[in-house]
Subunit: 346 residues, 4 copies
Amino acid sequence: MTQIEFRSDNAAGVAPEILTAIGDANTGTAIAYGADDLTASLEWLIREVFEHPTARVFPVTSGTAANALSLAALCPPWGSVLCHDSAHILQSECGATSMFGGGAVMRGVRGNDFRIQPDTFRAALEAVRWGDPHHSQPAVLSLTQPTDMGTIYSLDEISTLTAIAGERGLRVHLDGARMANAIAALGCSAADVTWRAGVDVVSLGATKNGALSTEAIVTFDDAAADELVYRTKRSGHVTSKMRYQSAQLHAYLTDDLWLRLATNSNRQMTRLAAGLADLGVEFVNRPDVNMLFARMSDDVATELEAAGLLFYRMPGSIRLVTSWQTSDADIDAALDRFRTVCEDAA
Amino acid sequence: MTQIEFRSDNAAGVAPEILTAIGDANTGTAIAYGADDLTASLEWLIREVFEHPTARVFPVTSGTAANALSLAALCPPWGSVLCHDSAHILQSECGATSMFGGGAVMRGVRGNDFRIQPDTFRAALEAVRWGDPHHSQPAVLSLTQPTDMGTIYSLDEISTLTAIAGERGLRVHLDGARMANAIAALGCSAADVTWRAGVDVVSLGATKNGALSTEAIVTFDDAAADELVYRTKRSGHVTSKMRYQSAQLHAYLTDDLWLRLATNSNRQMTRLAAGLADLGVEFVNRPDVNMLFARMSDDVATELEAAGLLFYRMPGSIRLVTSWQTSDADIDAALDRFRTVCEDAA
Amino acid sequence: MTQIEFRSDNAAGVAPEILTAIGDANTGTAIAYGADDLTASLEWLIREVFEHPTARVFPVTSGTAANALSLAALCPPWGSVLCHDSAHILQSECGATSMFGGGAVMRGVRGNDFRIQPDTFRAALEAVRWGDPHHSQPAVLSLTQPTDMGTIYSLDEISTLTAIAGERGLRVHLDGARMANAIAALGCSAADVTWRAGVDVVSLGATKNGALSTEAIVTFDDAAADELVYRTKRSGHVTSKMRYQSAQLHAYLTDDLWLRLATNSNRQMTRLAAGLADLGVEFVNRPDVNMLFARMSDDVATELEAAGLLFYRMPGSIRLVTSWQTSDADIDAALDRFRTVCEDAA
Amino acid sequence: MTQIEFRSDNAAGVAPEILTAIGDANTGTAIAYGADDLTASLEWLIREVFEHPTARVFPVTSGTAANALSLAALCPPWGSVLCHDSAHILQSECGATSMFGGGAVMRGVRGNDFRIQPDTFRAALEAVRWGDPHHSQPAVLSLTQPTDMGTIYSLDEISTLTAIAGERGLRVHLDGARMANAIAALGCSAADVTWRAGVDVVSLGATKNGALSTEAIVTFDDAAADELVYRTKRSGHVTSKMRYQSAQLHAYLTDDLWLRLATNSNRQMTRLAAGLADLGVEFVNRPDVNMLFARMSDDVATELEAAGLLFYRMPGSIRLVTSWQTSDADIDAALDRFRTVCEDAA
């Protein structure tokens, strides 16, 4: 029986268009460390895609690098980064931001649906003793869009939060490891969900959505960009053969490939969720994009594994993630297996 | 007129065997962050290639990452890393080791031919006030093999230096950004030039020799390896799709591909150097591998550039580097152009 | 009307015995940086007071230094320090531990009475993905004794928590900024509340209890001590005229001066609390030592200030702290003023 | 036979005026962490003494803290601090600047008389690849005045160096661990040797010249000062009982006490040097202030030690330092002993 992959979009392969772009870039020689033509033209492409005349781009090789370097460029060592309690930067990056940020700290903020809310954010800011050096001073708001639990912020919600941040002088980072999925779900532009909504620096994910170890930091803030020139290099995140990453990002952002890939993963999740809802499965989150946390007893989860479904288990629930590679047939087959197991369990 | 590339082996492309390996790895899905089968079997391949039963391997995406993370794992924050005055880690990594190492410092040691010598190394160690906390305590010897100026250490020279290091409790790192070139030139084994000669941790270069943003840290020291599990992750150097890097390293180390590629670049440099010597050009270094620093007046250098030769310029000299991709025809054509320019200049 | 000081024991002066000791040390010359005789003999005194044959001592100049350097010596950069949500190291040191610890992070643990409890501690440990490098790995338990809210752990409670820590390999730090007050309240020995209960390193406070910018790190763990030799120096916490700090610590620990001073502050708080309870004032905490958080309306607090009482205000409560310097007359006068204001308010 | 102290001015005691000031400050209570009146008025005193309307002051407890925190506030993590090869910050602070500076590096510059010279400084700056992120970018010039070898820069020399620094955008730090000695020797004002000569931040030493573990950072640059508010706190260098340090600095800077103390140590050195010159002793340095490095065979040095003279030994030379406490009688007696030993040796 074939296994069906729902562990992570990170488990998916490289999209054919992107693999082709790597091969196409492999002609002749080119100067190293991002001084090549493909990387130069990438900056123009980013400006076009994001509709921002001075945006800058720094290809890096992991989302942790994109996040932690961005945040270090935005936050002084005595500052703090406010993010949701469930944020990847707080829970899953082993203190990368504190390391790169010279001891900057991260503070979790509560909020329903795994999202920071205006009132919880305001309360967090009001509890601060501003200007008192005993206390790390909030300097950055980091929003995860979509969140690590698969929910998204509306454009209005982002604007409201960034406006509150602005009142206190905080700059805004957006962890967009799955940003294409959010844009596809919202039906908005890349500009709408970032700088037009008050975001200064974006971790633009590509790896989970079909690229090969390639992410990018996109800045709308020249002070941060000027720091990132050095911060990326000294952390080993300026690859010598950067042209192969730039080639990927060209392919990714051209002809809306990134949105087409994300639209598939979102659509397959919608189908999967609908099918599971029909089976009476309860959800922990609202599956706005390509991630679903479904309540499932341990016994049923074990049977689902035995049925060839691959997913992550938590106590009382399982995580299901679709990707650019998930097919209609995958979902159909998966729902068949869910049905069989769930009916047996009932 | 076609340009001929001698700026850097970093400017070369990806070797066809390695590009094929990336494509071959792109089937199905696989668990992320190095928990995949290709990465697991890479460790066994490394143990075979290095003839060491407990060697461990950490694929990373840049040489700076390999060096700085290795050194941070070997050196306490109050320690110092001794390296040659000309070493890349001291001159060209923007303080990466000090950052990752919590403020560890690098101390340059003098030596002819861009190599540390037993007497200069001993003198550096004797000048230390051991145990005095006012002074950073030497904790690591880092050797660059081949050096940044294209010279190599003999196996005896390495063993002598690592023995001196051992007397003082220093551990030993080898920056092998071009290690394949050194092995090809020495005609030794990977074990001979590393752990058998007293090396604890190696930055194993692959990118300059045909890989795509892939290097590896190889450890013969479990304490360092245990730290690297965390140090690589929190610095953003554990890529989620690591299997594509592991696939490259498999191809690179299989059937001696790495040595065959390096043998070509060394051989083309030997041909180039012989031709230039015939033209009466003087050399700054002894071109042991694939790098040559040749004395050249500024005027002649400008004419060589006009003749379509690509190289780096320094005051009074130029740097020429061959790669796995340099062909016999490249060298023949280059020597023709050198001959024309030099004869004009004479 | 004289003001009566309840803002902080930090606001108190230097105890006469300690000022005398400084003057007495000011004879002749002595070698700098702690190589003097007074500092050497301090180590023996510490071993006697703590009944531990290999304890070591590092005089420093602030509690933040004592805490952050101790924790950096106990916690690897990828580790985390677990402490109570209200702990000074988490709330009031501006990320010092993260800075000195190379990006180590602090995680708050909940617990009644401002103390970590066995069940909340166990739950925090069980939620960890051990060995997964995405997650900072808990490496240290830091207990504040007494807590920042004036409560204390019993000896059994400490032993229970350190035993749980030990099961997971965590080492234990005790923030003893007011440790003398805890010992005086518990009627135990310095050994009982530290190494006999499973503590590895102590921040031994003296400044709040009558010393002049002098605290000490006391270690029962040689690995931590060996690191502290360098960590204290490179952070600027090895004063050149250390003998004047050592002289203070001699006086502080001789003839139980530290306990006599703390006994006074505890006793005055007991008197104050009893008086306030008689007036019907409600307490936020159980005033185990010399700190009381009392519920007080904003209006009443303002009147108390007008009556010459000095204290810190929080929304709906005030903080009152007694010190070695607080006299019977201070408490009598303070209670008179409380009575007047409270009766007016009633 | 009484021993005569020439090891270090750090070995001297606390000046009586300063000890008195500590005692005088010990009345009543005062709010902690530098919010007290003595600390507030210290800022005004500093502005008067340095004739600078916006100078700010941060009392700290060691010279290493003053230097490393100042430099971290002036230098970005990817920057470098240029200083003389012999500078304390490079040789004797165990990488403190690299730690506090997030991996900033220090680069030694050569120069006769242990001083940076305009040509060696220019050469160091010209060798930099500006704007290339492979290279730490020079951001600060740190001058030691007087140098660690007892020589001083003239006011013109400082101005020349700071002007060169300014051309490249470097800011300027002055390590004034013995600044009073330099001012006394130059007969200039505190303003002349600092901001009027182009200095932005000063480590103002006091401990070696009669204070008790008290130094100060003085800034003429508000951006650095704003950072130091947080940097001093999170490194544990904001003592809670700061008023006792501020009281010392008041006494130190009032009625020229600092200059009177330094004048004595300089004068005693002049007498000692003259006497030694008469005996035919050769000097390694020009004893501009209170430090002399004198050539001395190992045998003679041993005999001098046997004669009760306390000093530091280096191969072939000894270091002699006078202090505020050195008396005419000390020098007379010392010269007698030198004469006896040297005549015996002749």
